[in-house]
């Protein structure tokens, strides 16, 4: 079985400060509750 998550998140063309960034790599084993990615709220 497979799960696909599609979501909106902050992005920025000019500054990377608030952009959503994945904290995973393809092939990584991940568990429920571990961060897929983070963004910073300025």
């Amino acid at each position: 079985s497979t799960v696909v998550v599609v979501f909106q998140a902050p992005t920025s063309k000019n500054s990377d400060a608030t952009e959503f960034r994945f904290s995973i790599r393809p092939g990584d084993k991940i568990r429920v509750g571990e961060a897929l990615g983070v963004w910073h709220n300025e």
Binding site: S1, K29, I30
Partner: protein, 371 residues
Amino acid sequence: SWYVKQFRTTSQARGSLGGGNTNSQGKAFVMSGATVATILMLGALHARRLYDDKKLEEAREKGIEFEFREDVKATFLRMLPLRSISRVWGSLMNVDIPVWLRPHVYRAWARAFHSNLEEAALPLEEYASLRDFFIRTLKEGCRPIDPNPYSLVSPVDGTVLRFGKLNGAGAMIEQVKGFSYSVSSLLGASILLSLVAEKNTEDESSNTEQESTRIEKSKKSWWRVSLASPKVRETVSECPLKGLYYCVIYLKPGDYHRIHSPADWNVLVRRHFSGHLFPVNERATRTIRNLYVENERVVLEGEWQQGFIAIAAIGATNIGSIELFIEPELRTNRPRKKLLSSEPPEERLYEPEGVGVVLKKGDEVAAFNMG
């Protein structure tokens, strides 16, 4: 080897025509030969699977991307009644196992598929069937939820296949190199998603305008800009641009098979696509076209603090039905009434309108069932 043994046994039985006792001994020999052959075959298949997994991991570490290549097996799979096979499999897995046998069966399963039995919430004897064991809950605290308020967490245990940024609702997600599917086909005709696409287009154009304004302003001295246009800069920081992202996670048979909420969000719509039930392992992704778009799936769609969010739970042959805890009456992997393969999805809007079902980060949402 089974055929050789059977041939030998038959020859022996024919050779000694007078001995009825020899014939019964021969049958016993054939039986034990068949059992040994079956065990050997299962062992060989398991060894092959482990070998393939190792090769795949090695290839991925080297950065090799697999290309899409439809093959004879994929064509053959399309002809099989996989939904019926899935339901029969589910019925078999739902058969009660004698209490004394349960720990042995579940330990064998865990050994074969690398499950951690220490995490199971109940003693092994309490899972009546393999199906119950498969969707077992975990002990309290086994899956701590990331406390960062600015994070989106994984809804499942699994292997990350792909992730990235999308360019609007019509954007494509790559299944493997050389083949992609569209987000709108995966999630269905979504008003929310089309609004996101429109908003993104508007944002793109307003961002271009803001960018040109910013360049013009930067030509002036810094104090003139800070005095003359504080409102423009505030607006930009208060309403950051929103992009559309995706992440594909594959659950192996040994993984924990419950789906949790990746964030605090409101589930507004549920869509159920009654499709095929192809296997979704890595090999299948490289050989079956439109795998995720054709398979049976349940899509939950709604809003979180950053805007649109949707989760698509895609079934497979062995794990065909999806149970929703927020809508227990939903039944998936049912016999098909229509012959058409592309039926429109069955949709339900959750009430109250605009609020739907409120979920907290880490809440249990659904489970994948066997068959």
